[in-house]
Symmetry: C2
Subunit: 411 residues, 2 copies
């Protein structure tokens, strides 16, 4: 029975502080959701003795070890070799992986070097874990006493894909129905973590239900998990319903969708097109929307009007408006959304203009002052938002607020 | 002699994945800079047994233990009590801290509760570490064999203040010059990790020099560290010089700068302005540039022309060009860069048009086909790039290639 995990994050970049380890938090979050406790997270550099120490500690502390990092082709990638040494098993080259690696290089016209074959070596008896978005696959090996060691790529995007597509389904399968966990996730906008905590406090949770929060600005996620399998399905349904009622309009998605995905789906459903006029967000909203495959079906494009001149040129904002009210004003925001809508012929125009900082603020318009405007049939409105914190926080907050307001206009 | 540290990050929020631990990276980074190796980072929850295990391991592995978290007033804040237990020392209330705590509450009109006095308890013989931005102070205690244990607040802002103002000066004082490390970092574009590894292989590294890589697509970083203080300054300088020669044009920065920062600095130096015409990158280049404070000094803005119509409208691309050559072509890219340059009056126009995928590719123009064009005085050119992998990789790769070509044009 898998119930206690140890996470190993490896690499010199972690122990020298060059990189913040996000992998262990991602893994811990997913394990928590399926009722696996994380006994400890161990981080060590690319060093033989340290890695062997970590393997040993992890085996003593838990019955599931999930490690990341050190699977690459270079000399400081020691993981597979040391796992073999730790387990007393030989390494074997997997021919299918070796062939796939060579093909991958050929397809991209990248010169093949023999050190890449290192990524096709696995401890004897290991099950290979496919890496759908990178070169180095991972592996799973059985240890004594029913324990398991799983190793994944240290690149967060690759790690997440391997975790979600292979590792989590395997863990859930191992745990069986009784241990199965019903879980749902709400994506929240417009609440601080402490305010959210307060709102959900009245919800009665039995010993099997757990609420967990995860704040990663500007995202806030609330996860409900109820363990105990099918027998507790009713309890789960009831609590979920309560949460939906309490949080209603703060929830922008149930599940894993991003705000831009939700907006994209709504635009598709309504068959409407969008154009953007961004100033302080500098193209971030456009970037978020176009990150989604198929966004060209509803997104026409937009203008990043970082200077006054470009606001006049691309959006037809009146110079007198800029003079009289300034670039960060209700009037300018309204002309921007209307301008981009008219110029492009889009069904909806969305504009953002504000002061991201650190300079450019004044007493009347401090850093963080942002005007957002929507122009669509039967609606042409601008709203004032005040964000706090450093430049990046203002930009992120403004992009999220703009997308969320657009979402609500589309409902 | 302090030379080997173990960092302990504690709290249930870390082992359940609710929060990404940034404290350990902050501490590791500062320790690395003064030549203290981090043997391991251990993360455990607010749990008696786990904490005692972590204390024991840390004492065995290093001669400096720096821990964070669990110093607050609530029941799950166990640190001080357990450190006392671990060391076999009584806790004593520090009257100055107790008084300061009460005054702090009174000054903020927050009701005083007795549990707050917990934060005035310290293990016998401890030196108190002031917390300039929060309530709970930290402490430093001597262990046997010249080892030291330091504990700080888990709130990142408080931790950083305590680390910078008290802990780092103390460590530097303890260490002499001899242990200092010389380090430099190169940011690389245009090489895979394995190709980079191969290129630097001929460099002779003594036992004191270390090269480490980090790939975070589209970024690739190479770090050189030489330990041994002033005595090895020459060795460091020589290896750095060799690396510069071998990697020359692949290096876009020495140090921590991003490519967009390098480009921004070059534009500032030349007193030139930039405008962007983005298609497949969807605003990402604009976003990267505007993330930098002060970018409005050289960035005028741009157009995200996601549809054919917007390419005509905002950039003046000829409809016949689009018809004859397609949106993803040398001709369109050239007209886009020239168009945005002329319309905005910018000194430099940069354009990107390509097929990010997953759909939209053809045999002649597969997914990943990207044309990039620069228009400036004496240069109006377009180049074809072929990227591989999923949509996000094509977009990231294209944005990096465009910025890097722009950088080289500015040199």
């Amino acid at each position: 029975m898998i119930d206690k995990a140890v996470i190993l994050s490896t690499g010199d970049e972690l122990t020298t502080g060059r990189v913040v380890d996000t992998n262990s938090a991602t893994i811990a979050d997913r394990l928590f959701a399926v009722g696996v406790e994380v006994a400890a997270v161990l981080k060590v550099g690319d060093d033989r003795e340290k890695l062997l120490w970590a393997f040993g500690q992890a085996r003593d502390l838990g019955n599931l070890i999930i490690g990341t990092g050190g699977l690459g082709p270079t000399a400081d990638d020691l993981t597979t070799e040391l796992v073999g040494e730790f387990l007393g098993r030989k390494l074997e080259q997997d021919e299918a992986v070796a062939t796939a690696l060579k093909q991958r290089f050929a397809a991209r016209s990248i010169a093949w070097t023999e050190n890449n074959l290192k990524q096709a070596l696995f401890p004897e008896g290991a099950t290979i874990i496919a890496n759908p978005v990178g070169t180095a696959p991972g592996f799973r090996v059985k240890l004594e006493h029913g324990k398991t060691l799983i190793w994944l790529s240290g690149v967060p995007r690759e790690m997440a894909a391997m975790l979600n597509e292979t590792v989590m389904p395997w863990i859930v399968e191992q745990k069986g129905d009784a241990a199965k966990i019903a879980a749902c996730m709400f994506k929240i906008h417009g609440l601080t973590e402490s305010k959210l905590d307060e709102l959900v406090k009245p919800v009665t949770l039995g010993t099997h239900a757990k609420l967990s929060f995860r704040a990663h600005f500007p995202d806030l996620t609330l996860r409900l998990t109820v363990s105990g399998g099918a027998a507790r399905e009713n309890e789960f349904t009831e609590i979920r319903q309560q949460l939906r009622q309490i949080l209603s309009s703060y929830i922008y998605a149930e599940g894993d969708a991003t705000l831009e995905e939700v907006v994209g789906q709504l635009l598709l459903k309504r068959g409407q097109s969008l154009a953007l006029a961004e100033s302080c967000t500098g193209g971030l909203i456009s970037r978020r929307i176009t990150r989604i495959a198929g966004s060209s079906a509803y997104y026409l494009g937009g203008a990043v009007t970082y200077s006054d001149d470009t606001k006049v040129l691309f959006l037809g904002v009146k110079p007198t408006t800029l003079e009289k009210h300034g670039a960060v004003s209700r009037e300018t925001a309204l002309e921007m959304s209307q301008g981009i809508r008219e110029k492009t012929g889009a069904d909806i125009g969305l504009s953002v203009t504000g002061i991201a900082g650190p300079s450019g603020g004044s007493a009347a318009k401090p850093v963080g002052t942002v005007w957002i405007s929507v122009a669509m049939d039967n609606l042409h409105e601008a709203r004032l938002f005040q964000f706090h914190g450093e430049r990046e926080r203002v930009i992120l907050g403004a992009s999220q607020a703009a997308l969320n307001w657009l979402r609500r206009c589309l409902l």
